[in-house]
Symmetry: C2
Subunit: 191 residues, 2 copies
DNA sequence: CTTGTCTATGCAACGAGTTGCATAGCAGGA
DNA sequence: TCCTGCTATGCAACTCGTTGCATAGACAAG
């Protein structure tokens, strides 16, 4: 149910429409949660139906009307309750690791390009995170001192940065392993 | 669809029943993928129906019959095809990060216990990974030299170890931040 | 003797997430 | 002119993942 709570947090930080939320989920919230606009609209509709959110319809010229949501009393209370419930440490789902282990039954060297592509994607993500950190928290244009909300946003962003750095380093290890296996163990069917 | 592929990899490493697979998903496969027995039985049934797996029913005394699956030609071919298709770098889902950011609208200090609990869970997981590494790859009882499959299993395990170490360190950062906020910013309603 | 745990498989119901499509006006470029 | 892309919301169909429950014999602890 964490999508509900991620939406509540985002709406408490700033009210917005489903479309605006979906943009945020591509940016800062995306550091730790992703969602498409379909998911967001569906959950927003359910939460509105349950009276968890306040809605205000904003007419616009030349565009469809906008429904601006904000986290009213019940929504805020639901978030507070969830914050006090323990949750299970999450378990990873790592497709690339499945592939790496599956490479034992194929040609390990043929995975090198794919791993390099993933490593580049993580480098790009790290660069975006670092740029965001400079812009919002550590650069000359950032507010100082930060308030509690900003401190918490910053520590979450530092988690994303640490995650990307760790992954990039691990993929170096994976690449070295694949190169080594390519030299010493020819793929099945060619050796 | 990666559960299918994770199952294929596991069955290629060693044939087994649904129950045995669910045990493996609590251990080594669990380094990078989790699944409950219900998911596994459902997917195994579908894959069997699609002719992707070979099945052999093994009668047992005092226990229900066991259906031992192995990845036959079509299953192995499907895995090989998937290995050559590019996949998207995965996106994180991190419930605890949602909570941390949500703590701005509650009492940050009340999250400390929860974060400590998560950190301990990650310490425990790290200890299990390190014990497994010693047992299977780097200890005196481990095979030497390792074959390609074992090398790949090892590098995936090193990824799990790096992940846990990174997470433990980040949670230190989170705890320091929460303590700092607890000193300087009293929670809403009490200050 | 009862309770609980282990092996072993499975159904039902639900919520979460993905993919494709539809609507609709406006703006910019080939 | 047509095509693409942006804002803005939403339906339909599907797969994936979770939770609770059911069956059923063997075995061990109390």
């Amino acid at each position: 149910m964490a999508l509900e709570h991620a939406i509540l947090v985002s709406l408490l930080e700033k009210p917005g429409s489903g479309y605006e939320l979906s943009r945020r989920f591509e940016r800062s919230i995306g550091y730790f949660w992703t969602a498409t606009h379909q998911q967001i609209y569906r959950v927003l509709g359910r939460m509105e139906n349950d009276g968890m959110l306040a809605v205000r319809t904003v007419p616009q010229q030349g565009r469809p009307d906008k429904k601006v949501y904000s986290a009213a009393g019940p929504g805020r209370a639901a978030l507070a309750q969830w914050l006090h419930e323990p949750i299970e440490p999450e378990s990873l789902r790592h497709d690339l690791a499945v592939k790496i282990r599956g490479a034992a039954f194929d040609d390990p060297a043929s995975l090198i390009r794919e791993v390099e592509r993933h490593q580049q994607a993580h480098r790009d993500r790290l660069a975006r995170y670092l740029a965001g950190e400079l812009r919002d928290f550590t650069g000359p244009g950032a507010p100082a001192p930060l308030d509690a909300g900003q401190e918490l946003q910053h520590v979450v962003l530092r988690g994303g940065i640490a995650q990307e750095r760790m992954t990039i380093g691990w993929l170096d290890d994976v690449l070295a392993t694949l190169h080594r296996l390519g030299r010493t163990a020819p793929p099945p069917g060619t050796g």
